[in-house]
């Protein structure tokens, strides 16, 4: 820790990069972090690390506790001890004696389909908005923005009735349609931000070579936009994976539940099967967290790109 107190060896380097950036006409060089200013005393260093350690601890403890609890026998769920009698019984119970796997399959189906459809149509929209200037573009941007703030409460009853009349209640397709309304507007914004970072010259080259606009989009830009597409896909996936309100309202019957609804059945007013809940939650969270680890860097640039460009 004490090595942090001597950042002086970095000071000489701080003057050089500014020359290279001053050559750029733009006032906004991309992703350049400010270099450390001055010296930091040992006391400041300790304070900095202490604060960060405490914050990290608060951030990490609940998921960690979930993991620990899932390995405890049902009767010990609330003991404060770390694992005393390590057991995989909860996992065994969840996987073999409950409908958990059904819920996983339901969720995967709903979310997977939402992701594929959502990414495709938000990519075409994002591309159109990024590259073309067409009548109706600004209203569309507004529409996408406004749709994001629609509360669940406005739409849920009419959607419920609409799905009921189309006999889509309790059907995965009904949820897919619903989730598209949540995922697409935001995804389209993110895709626009990403397409904006791809040089227009590439489109122009494609056109010169005789591709039509859709050909340019599909054969040149989509392959280049893979990172952006990955982020958008991830966002759609997470949105559907973690959605609670629609899933609770539209899906009934134990086999039809998605994960968010299914896990609620473990712990409600009448039962509290914390062992199963924690084991199931861990199974749900681990893949999401791993994928998240891969895409989180891009996620942010995607989120803020639209904002900082304006």
């Amino acid at each position: 820790m004490s090595s942090n107190t001597t950042p002086s060896n970095t000071t000489p380097s701080k003057t050089t990069p500014s020359k290279t950036t001053s050559a750029k006409p733009s006032v906004q060089p991309s992703a350049k972090k400010p270099r450390p200013r001055g010296e930091r005393g040992p006391l400041a260093s300790v304070a900095l690390h202490t604060t960060l350690l405490i914050a990290s601890l608060i951030a990490v403890l609940p998921p960690l506790w979930l993991l620990v609890t899932s390995f405890k026998p049902q009767s010990e769920a609330f003991s404060t001890a770390l694992v005393k009698d390590f057991t995989l019984g909860n996992y065994d119970h969840v996987l073999n004696d409950t409908k958990f796997l059904d819920w996983v399959v339901n969720s995967l189906f709903v979310v997977g389909l939402t992701t594929v459809i959502g990414v495709f149509i938000s990519a075409t929209t994002g591309y159109a908005v990024s590259r073309f200037k067409f009548p109706g573009m600004r209203p569309l941007m507004w529409l996408l923005l406004i749709t994001q703030m629609f509360p669940v409460a406005v739409l849920i009853v009419p959607l419920y009735n609409l799905l009921a009349s189309m006999e889509l209640l309790n059907q995965p397709m009904g949820l897919v349609l619903t989730y598209l309304t949540i995922a697409v507007p935001f995804s389209a914004w993110m895709m626009k931000g990403y397409f904006d970072t791809i040089p227009v010259e590439i489109d122009e080259a494609g056109r010169v070579d005789g591709l039509n606009p859709f050909g340019t989009f599909w054969r040149l830009i989509m392959p280049l936009a893979k990172p952006g597409l990955a982020v958008t896909a991830f966002y759609s996936f997470i949105t559907g994976w973690a959605e609670v309100a629609y899933a609770s309202a539209f899906m009934t019957g134990e086999e039809n539940l998605t994960l968010a609804g299914g896990l609620q059945t473990f712990v409600n007013q009448y039962t509290s099967d914390w062992g199963s809940l924690t084991a199931a939650a861990v199974i749900v969270a681990v893949p999401a967290a791993v994928i998240f680890g891969f895409v989180q860097r891009h996620l942010v640039s995607g989120l803020t790109a639209g904002a900082t460009k304006s």
Binding site: F78, K133, R138, V154, T178
Partner: protein, 336 residues
């Protein structure tokens, strides 16, 4: 070509309107034809989204507004029981629902709490995110470790986190109370006392919201040119002055956007409250959205009309907020 495509064209459209800089048809018919075909493609590409939004947002929205002017509930809507089809018997009641809601104290109570909830969640997570981002933006040992640890809550699906917090908050056996007990402090009824329940839901939502703020702020900090800090230092600015006059203005574009987005998200934050307290105890932690949900899916008979009216009011409030917010930004010379 450059006129019709690319980000520059988008900016131009902002200023001059959609048609303002279009090709001059009289001079160059070839360009006109090309622009028409361009528009055709653009429209074809956005059509799926427009259709999706139109069908599953536009139609339900229109119907929601319509329902809110009727007395529809579970007992009188169109339904099928077995083989019998029962037609709808609800009728229009004009604006009675709205009048009833606005005259009733429940709405104002819920609105007050929702505003408190939104403001405190956004303010706290913004402040914490800003502080942590500034700390992480220095040269620091173990920076990537801290970074990963701090954004972990974001990686876990929200409903899983909320269940975990319920486990921690458990009054008799939860870890938090066990720890307090160890320190000789009486157990706190985290989710069973109105005041503590409010504090608890805010705490959980802040815990969930900080990673997003942190990461957005980090991105914002890294887009501030280093020369600005050098210049400020040359002029003898203290660290606080540099933070106040370089960092904060530099963060504004990102900050205004994330504050707007997260305000709207928090205002509509359904899962945290629904799964943590179900709005309880009583309706102490019920925000507008969860209350409207309760009206149509929890209480019996389900009050579809009332719920729709609540929904429309929520939407109006949010639109008002967005408009006021945007005005305020514009007054300060912000483009968005």
């Amino acid at each position: 070509m450059a006129v019709e495509s690319g980000p520059r064209a988008v900016e131009a459209a902002d200023v001059t309107g959609v048609r303002g800089r279009g090709p001059r048809p009289g001079k160059n018919p070839g360009r006109l034809r090309r622009s028409l075909s361009t528009h055709w493609y653009a429209w074809a590409m956005v059509a799926p989204v427009v259709i999706v939004i139109g069908v599953i947002v536009g139609y339900p929205l229109a119907r929601g507004v319509f329902l809110s002017t009727t007395n529809a509930n579970e007992a009188n809507v169109e339904r099928t029981i077995g083989v019998n089809h029962i037609p709808a018997t609800y009728e229009s009641v004009g604006l009675d629902n709205y009048k009833a809601i606005l005259d009733d104290g429940v709405f104002w109570d819920r609105l007050t709490w929702t505003v408190i909830w939104t403001v405190s969640c956004v303010a706290l997570s913004f402040a914490i995110g800003l502080v942590l981002a500034n700390m992480l933006n220095r040269k620091l040992k173990g920076r990537s470790f801290y970074r990963m640890a701090l954004i972990l809550p974001w990686a876990v699906p929200a409903f899983v986190s909320v269940f975990t917090w319920r486990l921690l908050f458990n009054e008799k056996n939860g870890v938090l109370n066990k720890v307090l007990e160890g320190g000789g402090i009486d157990a706190i009824p985290w989710l069973n006392d109105p005041t503590w329940a409010k504090i608890s839901v805010i705490a959980v939502n802040v815990w969930l919201g900080v990673p997003f703020m942190l990461v957005a702020m980090l991105g914002g900090l890294q887009s501030i040119p280093g020369e600005l800090y050098e210049a400020a230092e040359m002029d003898g600015a203290s660290p606080w002055q540099r933070f106040r006059h370089v960092t904060l203005p530099g963060l504004r574009p990102v900050a205004t956007t994330v504050v707007l987005i997260s305000s709207i998200w928090t205002f509509n934050m359904f899962p945290v409250i629904f799964l943590l307290t179900r709005g309880g105890p009583g309706d102490a932690t019920e925000i507008l959205v969860t209350y409207a949900y309760r009206l149509s899916f929890v209480v019996s008979p389900r009050d579809f009309a009332g719920s729709a009216a609540w929904g429309v009011l929520i939407l109006l409030l949010l639109s008002l907020f967005a408009v006021v917010y945007r005005r305020a930004l514009r007054k300060q010379g912000e483009v968005w």
